[in-house]
């Protein structure tokens, strides 16, 4: 069903030099603390990371619960903030699809699409033959997912010992990791322009719409980068 050799190859990506484990662990420790302070039980915290496994979504849920938003409001807010997962899926799954593989694997393993696993897969996919890529991807996804769950548990348990300064320190690790990974991925003109313009336009659109700035900025930057890359 799942080829264990390729699965474990993918799984061991969290032990490599570009491992997302530290960054991912840090931010899910922060989530564990946040959920505990919100009044979640440990089961609910684990359940949340297990089912959502996308950091900004969990943050939005926490903020919405704090202000007592309705379920519909939570749905819309989370969908909005996690809509970036759509272009991420579309730019990853065609690389993994192979007619010899059953389709349920794609529909189940898309749950693992989150920035960390996605960046690792994007930088490694060429080293795996196409028909084995999905098993490799499931390996990466299982590994990063496990780190996220362990992080949540550690955060929940240790929340009393983590002061404000440590929490601020934990919060910067994730953006720094992702920024470095993205710079490492800037190998073509299209990706380089996408990353640089996106980093400028995302915050710039904040002045127009704080809620939509990431999607607006990303859309405009990515489209400009595409056309510049095509012309060259």
């Amino acid at each position: 069903m799942i080829n264990s050799k390729h699965f474990f190859q993918g799984f061991s990506s969290i032990r490599k030099i570009d491992s997302p484990a530290i960054a991912l662990g840090c931010c899910f420790i922060a989530i564990g603390v946040l959920l505990k302070n919100l009044g979640f039980s440990i089961q609910e915290s684990i359940f949340s990371t297990l089912l959502t496994y996308a950091l900004p979504g969990s943050l939005v849920m926490a903020e919405s619960l704090l202000v007592g938003a309705s379920l519909l409001n939570i749905f819309i807010a989370v969908w909005l903030v996690n809509a970036r997962l759509y272009p991420m899926t579309v730019s990853l799954m065609p690389l993994l699809m192979h007619e010899s593989q059953p389709r349920w694997k794609y529909y189940l393993s898309c749950h693992f699409i989150a920035v960390s696993a996605w960046l690792i897969m994007k930088s490694n996919y060429q080293s795996v033959e196409k028909e084995n890529r999905i098993d490799y991807w499931i390996g990466i996804g299982t590994a990063t997912w496990s780190v996220a769950i362990i992080g949540t548990i550690i955060g929940f348990i240790s929340s009393e010992y983590l002061n404000k300064d440590i929490m601020i320190g934990l919060a910067i690790v994730n953006p720094v990791y992702f920024m470095c990974m993205m710079i490492g991925a800037m190998k073509t003109i299209q990706i380089s322009i996408s990353v640089i313009l996106g980093a400028i336009l995302g915050p710039a659109f904040y002045f127009i719409s704080p809620e939509w700035c990431v999607l607006y900025g990303g859309f405009v930057a990515g489209t400009i980068a595409y056309f510049i890359g095509e012309k060259k």
Binding site: C26, R84, V90, I168, A171, V173, M179, C180
Partner: protein, 108 residues
Amino acid sequence: MTTSIVLAILVTSLATYLSRFLGVVSSEKIKETSKIFKWFNCLAYSTLAALIARIVIFPSGALSESDYVIRIIVLIVSILVFYVTKRNLVYPTILSAIILTFLNGYYG
């Protein structure tokens, strides 16, 4: 477990899975060599860059309690460390947390 929290978790996970699911549905018709794939590739990277830049410049939560000048200094130092250590990701990430905690403690 309290029902409202469980419902909130379920709603959150559904809203998140929706984008992933629709992404796979669209992927079935998109070839990796097509122009639309290239365009989505640009969109994915630019949206991520926009998200990360937004988190650093206009953060919510714990990060918003630090000064933005300090955050930008930490980010620049981390990127330099990333280059100096031949693209090692462990050093810049660990250092960033230490530098930010330190700077924030003294100047924050």
